[in-house]
């Protein structure tokens, strides 16, 4: 089984650096973590945290933090993919003369545009929705609120300002189900749900890692500090992230971590420094992927696209699958050849167990689903999401929208064949 090498190394480092994990629950949690069953890993620890020795408690806490962090990265990936699909689905609905008059279409198109950072488009769509007389007061208010948000976000993501209320919500149920024609049910899901799930996971990661970052010892302290800073960065708290990482012993965790810290630090520095920093960090894949998160201006933007193109050549057979997955999504977002991206991602898939999270990193599976989608292989994309949805909540909106895109675009003859 291939695993996410970097994060696993972290756990292994801790295992060596700290007292051995004698408690069976902790050992079980580590095994579940290795199998990418993060929620189950947390459950295995949660009930016995109090009975662990202090050293094992640190290790357990780190594992808890990392499990939330992995989940946050996963939801970030799902959210990005979901936004692309959501926009495509809204486009298909708009193209259909039967549905273009539906008030929900401009509203949710605007929500997805907002999520994609297309603020001006979002403002237009949401203004159109807010003016619609067919929307009831609650949804009209939401359209107005989000329209105003589009004016003020300036590079941030919506969840940095407003989060969805997920308390007691069935995440498989849509935000809106339009049954104005009882023979045609349309469902709409607010993309803010996935962003909220991502944000919640980053915060949980931070919560678990912060005590270790402050009081932990040795390697545990250093790793916890790095990942706490990393979480803060993705929460949009760049200044706090930089502050936490500034006091970091940069050399301690190796050049890759060092490069990433420097990129995160660059997020708050003057644009003029970017080109030089790019040159000194471009050889570290994780740092390159962080650059992608910063959406840098030229000349770094073009250099980044080129670097993303060549990056898979440096991926060995045991490359960190999470990183490979993040590379795939970054490459797709920058318009690289989707067939080549799919081929590169597929090299890291366990073909015999192609959709199982125990055998494939979940984020890699999301990237594969996105690459399949980009190559119009909708069945494979849906099948992968079907398996992922068994372990991770909140994917239904993406599945629904993708089914809608597929339904609109399929052109087949209607053939069915028997086989033995």
């Amino acid at each position: 089984m291939r695993t996410a090498a970097t994060t696993l190394v972290c756990v292994l480092l801790l295992a060596e650096g700290l007292a051995s994990a004698s408690e069976p629950d902790l050992a079980r949690a580590r095994e579940l973590f290795r199998q990418n069953r993060w929620a189950e890993a947390r459950e295995a620890i949660a009930s016995n945290m109090g009975s662990l020795s202090p050293a094992d408690r640190d290790q357990a806490r780190f594992l808890l933090g990392l499990s939330h962090l992995r989940e946050a990265e996963l939801y970030r990936a799902v959210s990005a993919f979901s936004t692309d699909v959501g926009l495509a689905y809204m486009k298909e609905l708009t193209a259909s003369k039967e549905r273009r008059a539906l008030p929900w279409v401009p509203l949710f198109r605007g929500l997805y545009q907002l999520d994609a950072g297309r603020y001006e488009d979002a403002e237009r769509s949401l203004a159109e929705a807010a003016l619609s007389k067919s929307l009831d007061a609650e949804w009209s208010r939401l359209a107005t609120t989000r329209r105003d948000l589009a004016r003020s976000l300036k590079g941030r993501r919506p969840a940095a300002v407003v989060v969805a209320d997920l308390e007691g919500v069935d995440l498989d149920a849509p935000d809106v189900e339009d049954a104005s024609d009882p023979k045609k049910i349309l469902r709409f899901f607010d993309p803010l749900r996935l962003e909220t799930l991502e944000r919640r996971a980053w915060k949980s990661a931070l919560l678990e890692l912060s005590p270790l970052a402050q009081e932990g010892q040795g390697m545990a302290n250093k790793l916890a500090r790095f990942y706490a800073g990393y979480s803060l960065f993705f929460l949009g708290e760049t200044a706090e992230a930089v502050s936490l990482l500034a006091s970091f012993d940069l050399a301690a965790l190796g050049p890759d971590y060092y490069a990433r810290v420097r990129v995160i630090t660059a997020a708050s520095s003057a644009p003029g420094d970017a080109a030089a920093l790019w040159e000194s960090t471009r050889n570290y894949p994780e740092a390159v992927l962080l650059w992608n998160e910063l959406s840098p201006a030229e000349p770094v933007a073009s250099a980044l696209t080129e670097r993303l193109k060549s990056l898979p050549q440096s991926f060995g057979e045991s490359a960190d699958e999470t990183m490979v997955g993040r590379w795939g999504l970054a490459a797709l977002s920058r318009g690289l050849d989707s067939k080549e991206v799919l081929t590169a991602l597929s090299r890291h898939r366990n073909h015999a167990n192609k959709n199982k999270i125990e055998w494939n990193d979940p984020l890699l599976l999301v990237a594969l689903a996105a690459a399949n989608y980009s190559n119009s292989d909708y069945p494979q994309s849906l099948e992968t999401l079907f398996e992922l949805a068994k372990s991770f909540e909140g994917l239904r909106g993406l599945q629904w929208n993708l089914q809608g895109v597929y339904a609109a675009r399929q052109k087949s003859a209607g053939d069915a064949r028997i086989a033995n």
Binding site: L93, S96, E98, R99, D172, D181, K183, K184, I185, L186, H351, A352, N353, K354, N355, K356, N375, S376, D377, Y378, P379, Q380, S381, L382, E383, F386, E387, A389, R396, Q399, W400, Q403, G404, Y406, A407, A408, R409, Q410, K411, S412, A413, G414, D415, A416, R417, I418, A419, N420
Partner: protein, 541 residues
Amino acid sequence: MNRIMVAVLLAAILALPAFGVENRQDGFPDGGRLVYGEYGRPATLDPITSNDMVGLRVTELLFNGLVSFSPKNEVVADLAESWDISPDNRVYTFKLRRDIQWHGASGGAGRRVTADDFVGTLDLIQHPRTLSPLKAPYELVAESRRVSEDTVSITLKRPIVNGLGRLSFKVVPTFALTNPDFFSRDDPFSQRPVGTGPYRLRTVTPEGDVVMDANPSYHRGRPHIDEMVLKPFADRNVLTQSLLFNSTDMIVQLNARDIAQVEGDKRFNLYPYNALSYTFFGHNLLNPHLKKKEVRQAIAYAVNRQEMLDSFYEGRGTVISGPFAPGSWAYNLDVKPMSFDPVRAKELLARAGYSRSGADGYLLTEEGTPLQFTLKVPIEKENETIKRVVLAFQNYMRQVGVKVDLQFREWQAWQEDVFVNHDFDLMIAEWAFDDSADISTLFHSKETGAWRNNFIGYSNPEVDGLIIEGKTTLDREKQRTINQKLHALLADDQPYTFLWTVTNYAAIHKKVRHVDIQPFKFFTFVDGWYIPTKEQGGSPE
């Protein structure tokens, strides 16, 4: 010339580099031989009466249609070079290529494909005496007409979704048939077909190998690989061994149990592909006991599908809840698979009137005989996986007091039993679908004749109504809603016990390059595959 015509012509011109050249300009070498293994032999080699996956794949090598599909599943020109669609979306007028000739056998040599061939093929499909699974799909054609030698016009009874894609039927030369008006599997053409495809039939050997040669005048350019051989196997284990011991170069659908072994062999590439397929137990609704919904539901509750999937397919698949594969746009995600619940199964059987048991522990019918079904299992000679599945099924059913007799039947005999004679209580098989997720032929009450797909005799007015509504609407979201309703209804009604969808893997020798697989028809892009010159010598005999 209207706007659609201009757009189509433009599309056809743009497609020229890929589909319109006589000689391939891709720089890949010609030559070599590819032997591919299938589990079971095709009953027919013609595209009219063929109803199974083995037949579908081989006819994809031998025949073409007016239009085909690109790797991104866009409709592209094939034997037609352009088309015009009337404003009311009912009349499709195709301008044919003038450079297509029938394969040089059975009097076909040198004969050009003309409008008469397309009109003749549609007439053949629609003839009352032709037994073809295509009959229902092509009932939508009101008229096909020769406009000129190179122009054919097809009028639909009503506009439909995917009208163009639905006219992708394979054309056959009616002049080569014994009877040009109707067609059956008895016609020698079904074993000696003449087509227009990338490969032409050379011979079928006494062992059943179908040997095909590259068509030198193929309109998309001569296929790179010289010779293609379909090698049928009666034993799934032997099929895998044939690959491992170089008797074949490729297995279209690898046995789930052998995936790890082949993946570990550096000589081969594994290609997963999603054929939108699922395995099921079908219930013959002519059987008075299976006619009761409670009995069908009890069967579903009695079977631990996840356990079977994990044990016999090493977990390489997904338990499903209804008549679509999870990769389909029509799959209803709100419907969950019935759980394994033998207690509930017994309750349902009791409610259906089966609460008394005999001395042997089996439930008794009103007549005092054991509640007993015959399960017809298609098997060539050996298929260890399917044997394990049905033995486990037999055991699960015993636990709830139902006796199941297993009858193993060779594939062709099984098809006769199921599709023609309806001589079964229970059967097991797999359905595969193209992207359209069209289940109408499986469950509409009118689809029950010989060689029709509703061989279980299912009849449910609500399902019929939804199927008709789905076929007549042009609104794809409405079609989706209808299919999701059908999913929920059929999941509750259980005309089948819906089992699972397993991952399809093709195992292909690494010497075969530039492989692109169409998940349903498999060989659509085979003309672009090639074997490097240096590696052409090592093909199996």
